[in-house]
């Protein structure tokens, strides 16, 4: 029953989220929905990252009494992915915000939220 371990559950959830996000980006014509798709995709990535950093039975990566300094690496959950996720979330937020800003401007210019209406440039 290895597969029902926490890290696998998160990993699979993350993967599903990524795929859902991609599906959303590719299949939805509405710009807002596409942004939501992207958001899902991004979140999925973050979840995957977390799952990677997880060490079973590990404790929080805080060097206190509970953690032996010498063997810290084996006992604590890898702190780096968490730090990375934080950064990634921030950046993801930035990107999402910018996307939404674009959506607003695009809607203002053309009065439409359908991506197929923005095909002025091609070939």
């Amino acid at each position: 029953m290895e597969i029902f371990q926490l890290e696998y559950i998160t990993l699979i959830t993350g993967g599903l989220l990524v795929l859902t996000g991609l599906w959303g980006i590719i299949s939805q014509k509405n710009l807002i929905r596409m942004v939501i798709g992207f958001s899902l995709f991004d979140t999925g990535l973050h979840v995957i990252m977390i799952s990677i950093g997880y060490i079973r039975n590990g404790t929080a990566p805080i060097l206190d009494k509970a953690v032996d300094k010498v063997n810290a690496a084996g006992q604590i959950v890898d702190p780096l992915p968490q730090a990375l996720v934080l950064t990634a979330i921030v950046i993801g937020l930035g990107v999402t915000a910018l996307m939404l800003a674009y959506v607003v401007r695009l809607h203002k210019e053309k009065g439409s939220l359908n991506i197929t209406n923005f095909k002025d440039l091609k070939w």
Partner: protein, 1043 residues
């Protein structure tokens, strides 16, 4: 030393700080931004300087004072310094270019711009994968942000697609990063490399994801529709940063992470890159929007560089140098080109004729085009040269083929564009925007390109032996272009004379002959230039470029120098040809055939390098096992210049439409460069008893058929200069045939023919050119009766024609006599018969041009036409004098020629007795006696007629017997149109335009292919996302050996 961390600090800090400056102090914001950018530039520059001075080891900078993985590591090595410098220079200059736009948008624009440049720097410097991800995202956010500032629907939609795609790509990168980390436990690239965990399957997937996402950032074909939209719609300043800066940074990132991956991934890079290079250029063929076109070109170039990164394992030479040479050229030329589109304003390439009003801008454009194609003296020339040589020596001929094919296709649209700019008439009166802050960056990059080109030559083997002095002379001529034409003509003639004085005494043997044709011929053909009033902008530098290029062919000790000279000559002659009236399409086809030929020569040189291991011209004779192919490539390459059948379609238009004094240059002289090349090829093949018997045999037939078709087509022309041009094709067919015989007599014929063709074709083109100059028409049926108006020209042309036709007693006959002997000796009877048939057909056009132009009926409009300008007559009569001398004393030319050839072909030499009679094995001929006998007899018969008929009544042109009627108009009495209609009925099918049709078919289909390929760019952002996903999957499947 300022630590590179200050680059980030400056960028970020300034970006924050600018936020506090009130909006009204926009100028202060601007100045501060420039200072920041300049400081960043200074930092990288200073690092580069310090590395160049002494070979220091690369410096690592660990932020937060800790080693990875607990902190981010930056690296500032020589390469990083170089790349960041380039990025910062582009950033700085683009900021200058964008200044009014940024100012108009406000301080936010400055902030985002600073962040963008800073982010690019970090992408280059960072050694941390996650950091790389972060700054990839920042780059795309900043870029999208910059685009967002421009509230134009097209820009917005492009920006959105861009943002969508890059975020997705960054996501892919992130997944890769995470997995790498999970397996490797580090994000520090150097540590990861040191672990050497590539063999792990799971890791290889992760590395693959990293690599593919960077590749995707570099916009590989076909997953790059979003990139093109950005290029097309962004402000040219931004586009130049994207094309120059972002792409450079991404390339470096790719280069950086490649050590992580397996050897197999290098092959992925190669194929992805080559397919991108080819596909992108193919799609550019049909593009008419300037910026999108540049986008295609940009993507293509980057694809090439991706593949070069992938070729690292196969190349002995330092790949960084090759890459750098190509990268610098691409960066500067492409950035400059994008700025230029901003200056011109009109994005329809067919409207670029408006740039002509500012020759200096046209000069910039030409510089960029030639730099992009890889012409000397630009760095990419050397880069491509070394690349091809290395690939060849490792035996990757398919890649060479693809690279050269892609370059050729790129040349098609770039030169078409250049042609539009130089020649195409435009209706629009709008002027271009040449404010200094726009033009200055462009000019700087153009100047840099030349400078770096000079420097780059020293990076590569043999590059240092290039003679830069003549190039400096050309540069001075460019600088002096404001002077009146006659001064420049004097300077040019003086310069060329000095060059000749330097070169010719050093030459011996056949090179002496060709040095004479190229340089003395050049001086002679420059003389007519004195007739030009005004400034003749741009003529002299390009003419000198052609002659200097030909001089370099003579001088060349190494293949690099030879190719350098060859390309220089091609470039110069292209500009000469395109100057002509209506010559835009002809110049294009000339350029394409020349380039195609040059690339074949290039490939052959590569084979020679692979065979001999050095760059010397002597290496051509040690080809290794691929000799047959290499010599074929060389021969075909040189035959594009000699315009042999199949490769000739550029010639008639190019020669006919050129200016009156350019036609002799490109016909009498330029074609001989091809002959020289053929001679070099044949000599390299190893003289008379070589192992490659098929090639000369095929070339012999080709030469014969070329002669036939060329002469026949010449007989059916209505355009006098076109007639001469086709005649050149025919005559060059003779020369090809003669050389292909590979016997003493054959070469004597061929080289003698080259000399006499030089003389008489120069006379003819100058004579007819002078007529065209006076009559302002090319059509022979509109001429007539010029003998009364231009008698001196007539005499010169008549003598030229007699020489051409090979009628005794003039020297042209020597060629015919030698031909008979050579053919019978060689045993090529049937080819020989075709040659003689062609020779007799030559009479048709000989008579036609003499009659239709000089005899027959003088037209109303031409009744007060004057004799040709004296400057046209002087060189003609000088050449005529030499023809006369050598006609009377043929041994003066053929005896030395024979002794020059004796070392190569000891068998079957001519024997000359004291009386000047030449004996071959089967025949004999005494030129002097023939001359005397005919001369004396002619005088006696003339005297006899004169005694009998002393005072004929001189009558006028309509005093002819006209069946009891009188002629009505000279036009209807001049029998010149469709003169050989009966002959055309009988044999005209031979000249049916099959070959032109063939090439048109090819070009149509290639263009159509590009056109249908580019239909995948539907404009829908979702499709582009889909492309990206599909691309990842397909490349993954391929890299793992299939499905």
């Amino acid at each position: 030393m300022v630590t590179p961390i200050f680059i980030i600090a400056t960028g970020l800090g300034l970006a924050f700080a600018l936020g506090f400056i009130p909006k009204k102090h926009i100028n202060l914001t601007g100045i501060l931004s420039f200072l920041g950018l300049a400081f960043m530039t200074f930092i990288s520059g200073q690092w580069l300087f310090s590395y160049l001075g002494n070979n220091e080891l690369s410096q690592f900078i660990f932020t937060a004072g800790a080693r990875p993985p607990f902190a981010i590591a930056l690296k500032m090595g020589q390469a990083e310094a170089m790349i960041t410098l380039l990025i910062n220079v582009v950033g700085l200059l683009s900021a200058v270019f964008l200044y009014d736009k940024l100012k108009q948008i406000g301080r936010n624009a400055f902030i985002i711009y600073l962040v963008l440049i800073m982010a690019l720097n970090v992408i280059v410097m960072t050694r941390d994968l996650f950091n790389l991800f972060v700054f990839l995202e920042i780059t795309s956010i900043a870029t999208a942000g910059l685009m967002l500032l421009d509230s134009n629907l097209k820009t917005l939609s492009a920006g959105f697609k861009y943002l969508l795609a890059t975020s997705l790509i960054a996501g892919v990168f992130l997944i890769g990063t995470i997995f790498i980390y999970s397996f490797g436990g580090s994000l520090f690239i150097d540590d990861l490399t040191a672990i050497g965990m590539a063999p792990l399957k799971a890791v290889s997937v992760a590395v693959f994801l990293l690599m593919i996402s960077i590749i995707l950032e570099l916009k590989p074909f076909p997953a790059n529709g979003w990139g093109l939209d950005v290029y097309q719609t962004a402000n040219p300043g931004i586009s130049s940063v994207i094309s120059g800066g972002t792409a450079t940074a991404m390339l470096f990132a790719l280069y950086k992470i490649m050590p992580l991956s397996t050897m197999q991934s290098y092959d992925i890079l190669i194929w992805v890159g080559l397919i991108t290079f080819l596909g992108s250029n193919l799609m550019g063929l049909k593009q008419s929007d300037a910026r999108r076109l540049l986008g295609y070109s940009s993507i293509g170039q980057i694809g090439l560089m991706i593949s070069i990164i992938g070729m690292k394992p196969y190349i002995q030479f330092d790949i960084q140098i090759i890459l750098l040479a190509i990268l610098i050229t691409h960066l500067m030329a492409k950035a400059g080109f994008f700025w230029l589109t901003g200056i011109v304003g009109n994005t329809d390439i067919s409207k670029w004729g408006m740039i002509r009003k500012h020759p200096e801008m046209l000069f910039l454009m030409g510089t960029f085009v030639f730099a992009l194609i890889g012409f000397p003296p630009f760095p990419s020339f050397f880069g491509k040269w070394q690349l091809i040589m290395e690939l060849s020596s490792s035996g990757h001929f398919l890649w060479i083929g693809l690279i050269l094919l892609g370059s050729l296709i790129e040349a098609v649209y770039l030169f078409r564009w250049l042609g539009y700019a130089i020649k195409k008439e435009t209706a629009t009166q709008s002027s271009i925007d040449i404010r200094p802050h726009k033009t200055l960056p462009t000019i700087i990059f153009a100047v840099f390109l030349y400078g770096v080109g000079y420097l780059a030559s020293f990076w590569f083997p043999m590059g240092g032996s290039i003679n830069w002095l003549p190039l400096a002379f050309i540069a001075i001529l460019f600088a002096l272009d404001f002077l009146p034409a006659w001064i420049k003509n004097i300077i040019s003639i003086a310069g060329l004379s000095y060059y000749a004085y330097q070169i010719i005494p050093e030459q011996e043997g056949l090179y002496l002959i060709f040095a004479f044709i190229f340089l003395i011929g050049g001086i002679l053909t420059l003389i007519p230039g004195f007739t030009n009033k005004g400034k003749r902008i741009g003529f002299y530098p390009v003419a000198m470029m052609m002659f200097v290029g030909m001089g370099m062919l003579i001088e060349a000790q190494s293949m690099l120098e030879f190719f350098f000279g060859w390309e220089l000559m091609t470039a110069g002659s292209y500009f000469l040809i395109i100057r002509g009236h209506r010559s835009m399409p002809h110049a294009l086809s000339y350029m394409l055939f020349s380039l195609g030929g040059a690339y074949l020569i290039f490939a052959a040189f590569g084979i020679a390098f692979a065979g001999s291991g050095n760059f010397l011209m002597s290496g051509l004779s040690t080809m290794g096992g691929l000799g047959g192919i290499a010599y074929t490539l060389l021969a075909i390459g040189f035959m594009t210049k000699t315009a042999s059948l199949g490769l000739h379609i550029w010639l008639p238009g190019a020669h006919a439409e050129a200016e009156s004094d350019v036609s002799p240059m490109v016909s009498a002289i330029l074609l001989k460069a091809g002959v020289l090349g053929l001679i070099i090829t044949f000599m390299a093949m190893g003289g008379p008893n070589n192992e490659y018997t098929t090639l000369p045999y095929v070339l012999g037939w080709l030469g014969a058929i070329t002669a036939l078709v060329g002469n026949l087509a010449a007989a059916f022309q209505e355009d006098a200069k076109r007639l001469l041009a086709y005649s050149s094709i025919g005559q060059l067919g003779y020369i090809l045939f003669a050389l292909a015989m590979m016997t003493h007599l054959g070469w004597l014929t061929g080289i003698g023919y080259s000399l006499s063709h030089f003389a008489y074709k120069a006379i003819l083109f100058m004579g007819i050119g002078a007529v065209v100059l006076r009559l302002k028409t090319h059509n022979m049926f509109e001429m007539g009766g010029m003998i009364k108006k231009m008698p001196f020209t007539f005499i010169a042309v008549l003598m030229g024609i007699i020489t051409l036709a090979g009628i005794p007693p003039l020297i042209g006959f020597a060629g015919k006599w030698l031909f008979y002997n050579a053919i019978i000796e060689k045993g090529w009877y049937f080819q020989g018969t075709i040659i003689f048939f062609a020779g007799i057909i030559a009479f048709l056009y000989c008579f036609r041009i003499l009659y239709a132009v000089f005899l027959g009926q003088l037209k109303d409009e031409h009744r007060n036409v004057k004799e040709a300008p004296i400057w046209y007559l002087i060189p003609q009569y000088l050449l005529l004098l030499s023809i006369m001398i050598f006609s009377a004393k043929p041994e003066w030319i053929f005896q030395p020629l024979g002794s020059m050839l004796a070392p190569i072909f000891p068998q079957g030499q001519l024997v000359w007795n004291e009386g000047g009679t030449a004996f071959s094995d089967i025949g004999y001929w005494n030129g002097s006696w023939v001359m005397y006998i005919i001369g004396i007899m002619f005088v006696m018969i003339f005297a006899w007629l004169f005694i009998q008929n002393r005072k004929p009544k001189k009558v006028k042109q309509f005093n002819i017997v006209y069946a009891g009627e009188k002629p009505e108009r000279p036009e209807t009495t001049h029998m010149a149109y469709n003169m050989y209609s009966g002959y055309n009925k009988a044999l005209g099918f031979i000249t049916a335009n099959g070959i032109t049709t063939f090439w048109n078919w090819i070009s149509e289909h290639v263009t159509a292919m590009g056109d249908s390929l580019r239909k995948i760019y539907s404009g829908n952002g979702q499709t582009y996302v889909f492309h990206i996903i599909l691309f990842v999957i397909i490349v993954y499947l391929f890299s793992n050996g299939g499905f």
